[in-house]
Amino acid sequence: MSPETLVLSREMRAEIVAHSRELAPRECCGVILGPAGVAAELHRLTNLEPGVDRYLVDDAELYALARANDERGWDFVAIYHSHPVSVAFPSKTDRELAFWEEAVYVICSLEHPDAPVLRGFRIVADEVAEVELV
């Protein structure tokens, strides 16, 4: 069976990397919205966690986007966040707090700052399956 894929433009990848670098050493976070699984809009969001090893998306920003999605029939296609010093793979915390099963979790690793790595994952019931970013 072919792995799931997510089409992610060069511009969106560059934006995720840029956001990750700007927020380092803290984790950045954001979402990609669109119709029927199409990555149409990227939104940088505020990380309310003050430390360097967690993210919590600003709930008011999240609600505004959820309402906008509802009005135009869009979904949260992807949720991205950065791992400033660790690999691009869902941590135990990522898996425990993966409440948005319908979204692809995109992780940007700056473990090697000059060679950022972007990978995508579907996390359902603590099971992780890679989503190929194409």
């Binding site: 993210y55 919590l56 008011a60 999240l62 609600y63 959820a66 941590s91 707090l97 099963e101 319908e102």
Partner: protein
């Protein structure tokens, strides 16, 4: 007992409110992204929803009825956490949004 809203339109407390349902809970609402419910408070509304969509309360609340830590409930755009929580009063025409937290970490 009637309360007068802005604009002079009389409403009855505890009337219908609109509930925005997140994707993870739509399997419980027959796929509906928006439902209506009744209740004078958020807690009463959730009990009302549970009667029609069994299992939904457990996804929103802890066993003691408090809203789960990683679930946000908004009433007319304001998060009830840090305010009156599940005791927040509702009026007919209110909009309630249920939005799971987006969180994670290293």
């Amino acid at each position: 007992m009637f309360a007068i809203r802005e604009g002079g339109v009389p409403v009855t407390d505890g009337g219908s409110v609109t509930v925005l349902v997140p994707v993870p809970l739509r399997q419980l609402t027959g796929g509906e992204s928006k439902v209506t419910g009744d209740g004078e408070t958020v807690a009463a509304l959730i009990d009302d929803l549970e009667g029609r969509y069994p299992g939904i309360k457990g996804r929103i609340c802890e066993g003691d009825g408090r809203i789960r830590r990683f679930v946000n409930v908004f009433v007319n755009g304001a998060n009830v956490r840090g305010a009156d929580g599940e005791r927040t009063a509702l009026r007919a025409g209110d909009e309630v949004g249920i939005v799971p937290a987006m969180a994670g970490g290293r």
